[in-house]
Subunit: 194 residues, 2 copies
DNA sequence: ACCTGAACACCGTTCAAGT
DNA sequence: ACCTGAACACCGTTCAAGT
C-alpha cells in the first residue's frame, strides 16, 4: 500500500455539488422526500449541514431544483430504425422507469419549481415528432400530450402500488407495465403525420 | 338585534372537521402548501393548534389525506346527450379546472398518500366508458390513460405558467386552455367502441 | 476557500391540565 | 368532550469564528 502524499487528514473526498445531489437523491430514493433534511444530508456526507450552503447558497430550494433537473431531464433521440412512433414508445418506457425509480421526487415535478427543468425534454419530443413528419402544430400538442400522459400515469401507478401489498377483495392487481404500454399505444394512435 | 340564548362565550362557531379542511384548503390555495402549518391553521380557525388533533387524531398526515380526497374525488356522470365522448371531454375540462384551482395540492396527488382518494373517480370513468359501449378491457386502459393525461397535463401547465409572467424571447406563450383541448381530443381519438 | 459551532425562529406532536 | 399551555425533539438558515 503506497500512501498518497498530502492526503486529507480526515481521509474523505472533497465536498462537491455533484456529491451533494447524488447523496440527496440516494436519501430520497431510500427513505422518501420527507426525510431529506439538510442535517441528515450533512451526516450522509460526513460533514456539518452548514457546509452544504457553501456549494448551494440558496440552500434546500436549490437542492430540490437540482433534483428536479436530474430526474426530469431526459431528451428523446432523433427517430431511428423503429420509426418515430417506435422511438417515442422506447423513450416513454425509459422515462417511466426513471420516474418510478425516483418516485420520491415526483411531487417536486408537479410544481413551479425549476421551470426550465423539463423544457429540454419537451423540445426534444417536439423535434422527434417534427423529424418524423408530424406537422409543427400537431407536434407541439402531441409532445405535451405524451409527456403529460407519462407523468400522470406514473402518478397513478405510484398511488396504487407503493406501500404494503394488500390483496383487494374484488379486483385483481393491475399489471402496470402492460397497462402503461396499452395506454401509451392508445395515446400515440391519435397522432397522425401529415 | 335579538341575542341568541346560550351563545358561545367566545362567539365563534364550533370547530368541526369540515371547517378545518376548508380553512386548510384556503391557506394552500392562497399561500401554497409549504405555508400550511398546524400553528397557522390554528390561527386561521382562532384556536390553539393542538385543538385540531382532537378532530384529526393522526394530525397533519390525516389533514393532507383529506385535502387529497377533497380535490381528487370527482366522478364522471353517466353518458348523456353529448354521447360518451362528449361526456368525458366535459368531465376532463372540469377536472382540469378543479386541479388548477387547487394546484397547491397537486404534489400530494402524485404520492401514495390516501390511495383510495382517486379510486371512485377512476371507477366512474370506467363505468362511463362501459355504458358508452367500450369493451371492459379497453375501458380500464382508457380510464387510466385519461385520468393520467389530465393530471400530467395540468402538471405541465402549472410548471410553465405559475409565477411571474416573463416574456420568452423565442416562443410565444402557450394558450393552455386550447392546448389542453387539442391534446384531449388526441387522447380520446384512440379510444374505439366495440 | 472551505468548513464548524452556536444560535434563532420556526416546525409537528405529547402530555398533563383546565373547563 | 373539547380545548389550552408548556415542553420536546426536530427543522432551515444566519453569522461569527476557525483553518
Amino acid at each position: 500500500m503506497v500512501r498518497q502524499p498530502s492526503i486529507n487528514a480526515q481521509n474523505r473526498p472533497p465536498l462537491t455539488t455533484d456529491r451533494i445531489i447524488e447523496s440527496a437523491l440516494h436519501i430520497v430514493d431510500g427513505q422518501g422526500l420527507a426525510r431529506l433534511t439538510m442535517r441528515r444530508l450533512g451526516d450522509a456526507l460526513e460533514v456539518e449541514a452548514m457546509a452544504i450552503y457553501h456549494h448551494l447558497p440558496r440552500g434546500k430550494e436549490q437542492l430540490l431544483d437540482h433534483l428536479v433537473a436530474h430526474v426530469g431531464a431526459m431528451p428523446a433521440d432523433a427517430p431511428g430504425g423503429g420509426g418515430w412512433r417506435g422511438g417515442l414508445m422506447a423513450w416513454a418506457h425509459a422515462y417511466r422507469t426513471r420516474l418510478l425509480d425516483h418516485a420520491g421526487v415526483l411531487p417536486l415535478l408537479v410544481t413551479h419549481r425549476n421551470p426550465a427543468a423539463l423544457a429540454g425534454t419537451l423540445a426534444s419530443l417536439r423535434e422527434h415528432l417534427r423529424l418524423g413528419g408530424v406537422p409543427e402544430r400537431t407536434a407541439a400538442v402531441a409532445a405535451h400530450s405524451l409527456l403529460g400522459f407519462v407523468i400522470g400515469h406514473v402518478a397513478l401507478e405510484v398511488r396504487d402500488t407503493r406501500g404494503d401489498v394488500r390483496a383487494e377483495p374484488g379486483e385483481p392487481p393491475v399489471d402496470w407495465e402492460a397497462r402503461f404500454g396499452a395506454a401509451l399505444e392508445l395515446v400515440l394512435a391519435g397522432v397522425n403525420p401529415g
